[in-house]
Amino acid sequence: MSETTSIVLVGVGGQGILLATQITARAAIVNGHDVKTNEVHGMAQRGGSVVAQVRYGEHVYSPLVPEGTAQVLASLERIEALRFASYLAPDGLAVVSSQAIIPVTVSSGQAGYPADAEDRLRAAFKRLAYIDAIGAAERLCDSRIANVILLGALSTALSLPPECWAEAIAQCVKPAYREINVRAFKEGKKMVGSARPSTA
């Protein structure tokens, strides 16, 4: 299955994972690939864990990514990356936003939020880009754009040309927000610079 590229995007309902999924899938379509995605709607929008997947290649059968095969695992929340870690291929890139969103199970005293999340991430992933996507988004004036910053970061592990991403963003966001989204994408790309493998 080496010819199929798999991407797993995770986060918390409301963070914009589904838009990031759509942009990624469209970038692959624009580049001429067959594409399949899968998303879970409904209940997951209510602050629950959200996982979405994109696969592209010459011909894609399953929309589901088998465990241990994703080239990229991108997470908008630090412990969600740990929750879905098993999807990543051994040589895959994990892109993780350092944001912590405290689940109600923690606030109501049923569970604890791991204090050592960053250490665990560094121990788990050989290739990790641990980025402050929210901080970068706020510098661009809108914390809601963290999802596109994450996209820019994860794009460094894929072979889709920049113009495909630009076209996909144009297809998915209103004209008034295109420029800020493109800037956010470039910003995310820059943030991974140092974590990028020399073999890419």
Binding site: V35, P66, G68, R83, A89, P103, A111
Partner: protein
């Protein structure tokens, strides 16, 4: 953009069904929202110039409207989730006898794995039960193609047809080739023909015979349909795969021969026999029930799947829950892919992150107020089902749409007749949402009133069908077509049902809400309490300015944490409001006895 990409679009399975309906000349589309089916009708609305679309009050009405349209000659689709077909089962069974004129396709989305459903019933049983064909696409392209095929079948054989999708087909997106719309033709309109359209026993008996003749003709056609095809490859292993399972099989064992089943019932017997004869070892891979496998066995063909075959041990195809390449890998003697070092990650103690009521959700106020009383709460289907989770824990039962009302009555009657020595009878409260009330709560309320019950029914009215993503309903004042219309009143329905005690409360007003509940629970009469405030996610407005915690005043009594609000975070022994999440409902401020919550600095209410 290149020629190659110009006509390809990225569509979800649901969007593809809607697109397929438009291209095939459908002019009427009805349904009731239900995950994972909802987006079909929402996508169809994009073609509202050509397709009349409506959210019906429930699935039974939706199918009956569709039946009327079909008999008048229109091509029509009707959409619902799997359990919705239970509601529409009554018209379905007899529509099978009457048959269709314009093509009629019932698009039913199953939910294997129960991502957002109370059961994982398998819609394929309904096809055999109602004696109508069922098609099952395995991706977006097929969702579009099969919709057109289903309409053709419906018109050729005068039968309603089910297009069965699943969560994974409905909510996966894929590249789809777009085409043009076929001209719509409603023919000459409804043609009177009582022998065909009026199933009084005299007419129904010959209809019954025609149903069997039709089934025989359909079974013949299923063998030659493009929906069913053999892909010969290595004959050592043959796999009969249906729906999404086909995609998993092709991914896992690309070299095996495959009989792809897209038209499940009536079963394509000739094709099944031909394929079985051409392979040495035969596996049936289907999601949920072993309908196909049992049939293959009934033909005298040895196979394996849910049950072992004659070829020795092999992992069974799981019959519970959703299939996946990972779950099927063992069936084909494959190990799951080499796992990443991430499998060694310390993830066992990660806190669960279940879906919760949103920040500023008006239901939270009602749940918190209910927490002050020792009552049983019979719940229903909607966002408020999330009130089952701690810390709210104010839902005790859920059955189906409308049962929140009727079960409350049954439980109250039973409590009333219970032996008093075994403890004081408990009061029963039924909870139902606005859309669910219009769907099937009204008849339950009528029952309570008519049969002199004493349950307290709360309609948590947030002015939208929230759980499925904010669809209109008879109370919202707007149609799916975007037009202004009547706004049906819950209170008026209560009065029409003969309810004498009707109160309307603002659930953010905890004091009045609690007092009203007290008054209702103290009386021995039935009550209807309408808890009304719009869903803030729908209005896209904060209820008020964001709050913050004054740490000097907070005594960490944790009473506010009992609200189960995602915006109130308790970490490192400090209670804080996440201002990004806070919707400004001020319930925290109202429950706090120490005045520790106030308006966040710099917060502004939109």
């Amino acid at each position: 953009m290149s020629q190659r990409t110009a006509t390809r679009a990225l569509l979800s399975g649901n969007e593809a069904i809607a697109r397929g309906a438009w291209e095939a000349g459908v002019t009427v589309a009805t349904g009731y929202p239900g995950t994972p089916s909802t987006e079909i009708l929402e996508a169809a609305r994009a073609y509202k110039k050509d397709i009349y679309c409506e959210w019906s009050p429930n699935e039974k009405v939706a199918l009956e409207v569709a039946a009327g349209a079909s008999l008048a000659g229109a091509r029509v689709i009707v959409t619902m989730k799997h359990v919705g077909l239970n509601v529409a089962a009554d018209p379905l069974m007899t529509l099978s006898y009457i048959g269709t004129v314009g093509g009629l396709v019932i698009c039913v989305a199953d939910d294997p794995g129960m991502h957002s459903s109370q059961n994982e019933q398998d819609t394929r049983h309904y096809a055999r039960f109602a004696k109508i064909p069922i098609l099952e696409p395995s991706d977006s392209q097929e969702a579009m193609d099969f919709l057109a095929l289903a309409l053709e079948l419906s018109e050729t054989h005068s039968t309603p047809v089910i297009l069965r999708s699943t969560t994974r087909v409905s909510h996966s997106s894929g590249a789809v080739r777009l085409g043009e719309r076929r001209a719509a033709s409603a023919g000459a309109g409804f043609q009177k023909n009582p022998q065909r359209f009026v199933p009084i026993p005299l007419n129904a008996r010959p209809m019954r015979v025609r149903v069997e003749e039709r089934t025989a003709a359909l079974a013949e056609a299923a063998n030659n349909s493009p929906a069913n095809r053999i892909e010969w490859a290595d004959r050592g292993l043959g796999i009969i795969a249906e729906g999404i399972a086909y995609q998993y099989v092709k991914e896992l064992v690309p070299d095996a021969s495959v009989l792809k089943i897209g038209w499940v019932w009536p079963f394509p017997d000739e094709l099944l026999r031909e394929f079985a004869a051409g392979v040495r070892r035969l596996i049936v891979v289907e999601e949920l029930d072993d309908i196909l496998e049992e049939h293959v066995r009934s033909l005298g063909i040895p196979c394996e799947g849910r049950k072992p075959g004659p070829w020795g041990a092999r992992a069974a195809v799981p019959g519970i829950g959703e299939l996946s390449p990972d779950r099927l890998s063992e069936v084909f003697g494959k190990r799951p892919q080499a796992h990443s070092p991430a499998t060694s990650v310390n993830g066992k103690d990660l806190p669960a992150r279940p879906p919760v009521l949103c920040p500023a959700c008006p239901h939270r106020g009602m749940f918190f107020a209910l927490g002050k009383f020792d009552v049983v709460v019979t719940g229903d289907i909607g966002c408020y089902a999330l009130g089952v989770f701690p810390p709210l824990k104010r839902i005790d039962t859920i059955l189906c749409m409308g049962a929140g009302v009727s079960m409350a009555h049954g439980m109250q009657v039973a409590e009333r007749t219970r032996n008093i020595d075994e403890g004081k009878p408990r009061k029963v409260v039924g909870m139902v949402g606005d859309s669910t009330f219009f769907h099937s709560g009204i008849t339950g309320l009528l029952d309570i009133s008519y049969n002199k019950g004493a349950a307290v029914i709360i309609v948590v009215d947030n002015r939208t069908t929230a759980m499925t993503g904010h669809q209109e309903h008879p109370g919202t004042g707007r149609t799916l077509m975007g037009e202004q219309t009547i706004s049906a009143s819950v209170e008026d329905f209560g009065r029409a049902c003969g309810m004498k005690n009707i109160a309307t409360v603002d659930p953010y007003d905890l004091k009045t809400t609690t007092e009203t509940l007290q008054q209702a629970l103290d009386s021995n009469e039935p009550w209807l309490i309408v808890s009304r405030s719009p869903c803030p996610l729908y209005t896209k407005k904060s209820v008020g300015p964001a709050r913050q915690v004054n740490q000097e005043l907070c005594k960490k009594c944790k009473l506010c944490l009992r609200l189960g609000c995602p915006a109130i975070e308790y970490v490192d022994d400090e209670i804080k409001v996440n201002e990004m999440l806070c919707g400004g409902c001020a319930l925290c401020e109202k429950v706090c006895k120490d005045g520790a919550f106030d308006i966040a600095q710099g917060a502004c209410s939109e």
